[in-house]
């Protein structure tokens, strides 16, 4: 009994100490598990060996150089950017419109429509890919860039809508009423008040859509046709022939680009209402 009441022992019981160590170790290991492969990939993109063997042969930038002169990769990159930009542009407009409709108006069938809107986020990519492929075959649209763009728009809209709606939900509707009160008609209210205040959300949604489009593999793989290979598809076909350090370099570049886009998107979602609010 006396031992238990000892105030020194009461402060941090042994089992709590152990628990804290285990928890810390668990946290660290999770990060190692997540990021070790990425770090290794980046390191070996600078390795002066032709083979990805795990032995370090000295620092080189040759794989990056090779990357930038590779004509096939250049074409795939151009395809990727073209498809992603068009899909982003269209889905941002539709996504914003749909989130405005969902947040502002009540209409018949809103509930099921709302649920259906987010379906592309939930259903497996492979299911969506197969469905889209069947659809294009059925309506006889030849597979190519167009079908990839349509498919990307189909899933991008949902993500844009989610991000824009989050922004809209915090929107004080009194601001729009104030604009109306000060002689702004519906269009001017949108132009001068709603749209500027929504802008950070719209941009964040667009960036997210762009990133997803740029990175997408499964859906693109199923809906691509001859000559419409995107960067992820190109990488996949290269990997089939064996992993080269060039692929490491390409992956590292894509990783960096995606990372920057996501950071920018998060930053836009957080700030942008006058107060600059760096993460």
């Amino acid at each position: 009994m006396t031992k238990r009441l000892n105030p020194q022992a009461m402060k941090t019981p042994f089992r709590f100490k152990i628990g804290r160590y285990i928890l810390t170790a668990h946290g660290l290991l999770s990060y190692v598990f997540l990021y070790a492969p990425i770090i290794i990939l980046i390191i070996f993109s600078f390795n002066a060996s032709k083979f990805v063997t795990g032995r370090w042969h000295g620092f080189t930038l040759i794989w990056y150089q090779k990357l930038f002169v590779d004509e096939a990769i250049g074409a795939a990159l151009r395809n990727s950017l073209y498809i992603s930009l068009v899909a982003t542009f269209v889905s941002t407009i539709f996504g914003t419109m749909v989130s405005l409709a969902m947040e502002r108006y009540n209409f018949w069938g809103k509930m099921p429509f709302d649920a259906l809107l987010y379906l592309p986020i939930i259903i497996p990519d492979i299911a969506m890919a197969v469905m889209l492929l069947l659809f294009f075959v059925m309506v006889k649209i030849p597979l190519g860039k167009l079908t990839i763009i349509i498919s990307h728009i189909a899933f991008d809209i949902s993500f844009v809508a989610i991000v824009v709606r989050a922004r809209l939900a915090q929107f004080d509707s009194a601001l729009e009423e104030a604009a109306q009160d000060l002689y702004a008609n519906n269009w001017k209210t949108f132009r001068y008040v709603t749209f500027p205040l929504l802008m950070p959300g719209i941009l964040a949604g667009a960036l997210l859509a762009f990133t997803l489009s740029l990175d997408d593999f499964v859906i693109t793989f199923f809906t691509a046709g001859p000559g419409s290979s995107t960067l992820p598809l190109r990488i996949y076909s290269l990997v089939k022939l064996g992993v080269t350090p060039e692929i490491n370099a390409l992956s590292a570049v894509m990783l960096l680009a995606s990372f920057l886009l996501v950071v920018l998107s998060v930053w836009l979602q957080k700030g942008g209402d006058g107060k600059v609010d760096f993460m």
Binding site: E177, Q180, D181, L182, L197, G274
Partner: protein, 361 residues
């Protein structure tokens, strides 16, 4: 003569799904008047204001502004401006652009906008904040900017939806007087929504007390306080003692009400009442006095139940019958006149007959 009124509501009703928010309200608000809509939350006062502003459309009835039927006109076509409860300043614009917004929408020339905005900022004593953003101002400053943004358009009527609600007590009191002074200077009709009865009494020329979508009493602050139309108004505005009883005696000079069938209380014969009718007598605590012997015309013996020291006042709770106690508020003047009683003392409560009201509903 409809053009005598700045705003007129004729049998206006508003229903949200199954809930009646405003129930057949008719009001006539005079030009240049400081008019308050006062009531507890959910009484329909804000909905009434929003129907004048055009943010809600009446289910039935008509809203007239300056004698013109408004119908389904949207807010941007009405000659009124609003000060919102949350101020609703545009966070992405500077203070200057906020105040200039209405004029810009009306396509007023740039030089005129600049001049009028500066004048307006001067009027609300904030000439040097034009380049700041709203979130760089204090609550009180934001409130003034909201006022400036509305007043710069020289509206026929200014609608104010609990504009002082978010300010702390001291600032609120200062702003009340400032707002009233400003209203008299610019001469614009103010329609002011509040749930704070003291605020309404301090500022208004006339008050409409609302409850459950209906206007229960519309009059000057003094009339509403001194002669409330019914029990709700008497209870909502200030503090009131209620005594229930039957009319026991009627003559030309006095009506007598037997409170709890025991204590006869004389009142002025102001209303149509019949012998034996069940009524309520209302009298304010500060109109009562406590003394050791009979002093006033109306005199009721009682015993002190409770003594509460408030600082400025001393409050006695006096039992006059088994069912009824009266609250008495005596000013704490100190010195010789401070006659303090203690719990259990047998005393007399006195007042003047004209200070009590006879309520039938």
């Amino acid at each position: 003569m409809p053009d005598e009124f700045a705003v007129e509501l004729i049998n206006v009703a508003k229903q949200f799904d199954q809930v009646v928010a405003v129930d057949n309200v008719s009001l006539q608000i005079r030009d240049g008047e400081f008019f308050s809509l006062l009531g507890p939350s959910g009484c329909g006062k804000t909905t009434t204001l929003r129907m004048i502003g055009g943010f809600e459309m009446p289910t039935s009835g008509n809203v007239l502004i300056g004698g013109e039927i408004q119908g389904f006109k949207p807010p941007f076509q009405r000659p009124v401006n609003t000060v919102f409860q949350s101020y609703a300043l545009f966070p992405h614009m500077t203070i200057f652009d906020n105040v200039a917004f209405g004029l810009q929408m009306k396509k007023v020339s740039k030089s005129e906008i600049k001049q009028r905005v500066n004048e307006m900022l001067e009027l609300v004593q904030l000439s040097d904040v034009g380049r700041r953003k709203p979130n760089q101002l204090s609550g009180g400053q934001q409130q003034r900017i909201a006022l400036a943004r509305a007043l710069i358009n020289k509206p026929k009527v200014l609608l104010l939806d609990e504009p002082l609600g978010a300010l702390d007590l001291k600032l609120r009191k200062a702003m009340q007087l400032e707002l009233k002074a400003l209203q008299q200077r610019v001469g614009i009709t103010f329609i002011y929504v509040t749930h704070d009865q003291e605020e309404a009494l301090t500022m208004s020329d006339r008050i409409a007390v609302m409850n459950q979508g209906k206007v229960l009493h519309l009059d000057t602050p003094e009339e509403i306080y001194e002669h409330p139309a019914n029990r709700f108004v008497a209870d909502f505005i200030g503090e009131t003692n209620f005594m229930e009883g039957k009319v026991s005696q009627l003559n030309e000079e006095r009506v007598f009400v037997a409170v709890d069938d025991q204590v006869p209380v004389p009142l002025l014969p102001t209303r149509d009442v019949q012998l034996g009718q069940v009524v309520t007598v209302a009298v304010r605590p500060e109109k009562l006095s406590v003394s050791a012997e009979k002093k006033r015309e109306v005199d009721i013996p009682g015993t002190i139940d409770e003594v509460i020291y408030i600082g400025t006042d001393i409050r006695y709770i006096v039992r006059i019958t088994e069912k009824t106690t009266l609250a008495v508020r005596e000013q704490n003047r100190g010195g010789l006149s401070a006659q303090r009683f203690s719990i259990g003392d047998h005393i007399h409560i006195g007042w003047y007959a004209r200070n009590a009201s006879l309520l039938t509903e």
